[in-house]
């Protein structure tokens, strides 16, 4: 029997689900190995019986909590898909404001009609088995995780900083180009794509398990930068962790 796979989304842009489908021949192979039984974005029929659940998005409404718990109860394996699900992501930027104020800024007098709460990653609500990180996810990494699961192995996600991959990509260090970067403390697996694209690391994959904060501070000192500047940028994707600390 082929394992049954389901995709679900909560508060998100749905870009990670779409990137998961950015496949060519691999899609044919994938469909030979699994049954996709629930994927609202591209599929009408739904089945409530599945083995593997991919969940995109963060949790930002009360009503999303029971829905996520139900998915957790059903799925043998639950995987967080993308930064919003893994670490809270950009949705958590609103957490620095009182919720009624955030609503009022956007909806003015109609704010009373809305229901929202501080955004959080899905592991703040249910246990999560594996993480496919990034904003958006990297399709190759998604495939790697799926393959590992089908083979009954534990998916290996890098636990070293972006700097390692950035060096391998042959980039000039962002700090030497007069900007600053979160690469020294952020988990790799993205092939330093943002730095190769002419920018810097924004931190969308979250911290490595044991970040070398002292070394980051030394780098900042060397280049005349402050911890506040870095914290501000870190909060773009990691505001939830920042508050939790």
């Amino acid at each position: 029997m082929k394992p049954k796979v389901a995709f679900f989304d909560f508060t998100s842009c749905e870009g990670c689900q779409l990137d998961a489908l950015n496949l060519e021949g691999e899609l044919i192979d994938l469909l030979a190995a699994v049954d996709i039984v629930n994927f609202r974005e591209v599929k009408t029929e739904r089945e409530e019986n599945y083995d593997i659940a991919f969940v995109e998005g963060s949790i930002s409404r009360e009503s999303e909590i029971p829905r996520l718990k139900k998915i957790r109860d059903q799925a043998k394996v639950l995987i967080a898909l993308g930064a919003c699900a893994c670490i809270g992501g950009v949705n958590c930027l609103k957490n620095s404001l009182p919720m009624d104020e955030a609503l009022r800024i956007v909806y003015k007098d109609d704010a009373r009609y809305y229901d929202t709460m501080p955004a959080r990653p899905i592991n703040a609500v249910v246990p999560v088995d594996y993480y496919v990180r990034g904003c958006p996810i990297n399709t190759d990494e998604f495939l790697k995780v799926v393959k590992a699961l089908l083979l009954g192995k534990k998916p290996e996600i890098p636990n070293y900083p972006v700097c390692v991959e950035c060096k391998m990509a042959g980039n000039v260090c962002v700090f030497d180009r007069g900007m600053f970067c979160l690469g020294p403390v952020i988990r790799a697996g993205c092939n330093a794509i943002c730095i190769s694209g002419g920018r810097f690391c924004w931190g969308c994959r979250g911290l490595v398990d044991d970040p070398n904060v002292d070394s980051e501070k030394d780098i900042l000192k060397k280049y005349g930068l402050t911890v506040d500047q870095v914290t501000e940028r870190f909060k773009l994707f990691n505001a939830y962790q920042e508050v939790a600390k």
């Binding site: 998100s12 930027l93 929202t116």
Partner: protein, 428 residues
Amino acid sequence: MRKVKVNVHQVTRLEGHGNIVLNAKDGKIEELRWEVTESPRLFEAMLRGRSYQDVAFIASRICGICSIAHTTASIQATEVAFGIQPSEQTILLRQLLFNAEMLESHVLHILFLAAPDFLGVDSVFPLVETHREVVLMALRLKRLAYNLAELLAGRKTHPISCVVGGFARLPDLGELKAIRSRIEAALADFEVIVKLAQTFKIPDFVRETEYISLKHPNEYAFIRGGICSSDAGITPVSEYLRVTNEFCVPHSTAKYTKNERDSYMVGALARFNNNYGQLLPRAKEAAHELGLKAPCHNPFMITVAQLVECFHVAEHSLRLIDQILARGLEEEDNRVKVRAGRGVGAVEAPRGILFHDYTYNDQGVLTEANCIIPTNQNHNNIQKDLESLVPKILDKPEDELTHTLEMVVRAYDPCVSCSTHSLRVTIK
């Protein structure tokens, strides 16, 4: 006595969450609503207090499928606020990048989201068995669009290299030349899709409405021009609020817009109706082959207009690449001088006209943002279409009725997850 009760909770094959509710008794409609149930994202609140350098990067996250449109509108708004004129080179690259997203989004909608309706299946997955060549072609076209965007901006979903003032990294001319032949091949693929689309049985339904899109004197407008209404002519982008007129209706769940009439349409068919004359030759030919004539008042033809635009986008991309190869690319100084001010950016996202409106202080920190997305502008028109269509088909079997209503919503290719102003009303 016949009671009809349709309740489609979370219409599928669209981006985001929306419901259709219909209750009718003895041929009389008691309740008919297109409801949006997306979680509020509150982007305008999250953009406040951010440096201009981070604004487009955050705004991109409004939507995973039209992130290039949001990025482009965002950067434009900031550039207008700061008084920055993008260079000719930047405009060429932005247009090419924009085409990549238009292509990917249209192919996704035509072949993955809409085609299953016409081929009698519930998703693209069974088509792997029955229409393998078409599925492989769709995947190939999507991959081409992704690769083109990667070349120009590092990535398609949430582009990396687009910055206020230009591009943080320029594409390699050799790679641009190499991808050119794949775009030429795409034109042949579109011909195959035309043959397939000619077999689609498109519901015969007509409701004239107001069509709103960008319009530019020299080109089929995607990223510049004024706001064109098929009823009222051109309005400058800076005065977009005169066109959108957002309002709330107590029984509805979405913030609506209206201009000259009760509702208006944005998107591929609105663009086609307003700017048909500026389509490139292959696109005009395709329109002819598909029986699409401007003005067309059948919303089910939006999908056909998207296919016509695919031809335009490919042909336009070939021309842009030729222009870029002929003139070459040079590193430009992207340093930005900030100033206090307000700016509005407007682009044609795949689903229609999109506005970002920002106010900055003299430190380049955003103090106020307003984003009006195409799907919100279409909600009211979808509702009016349903109101006009339902009485005509109310005697049909319930599953056929339900399916047709879903098809109306799906035709608009709604992107509900980026509905920055969606409204969920709880009536107690």
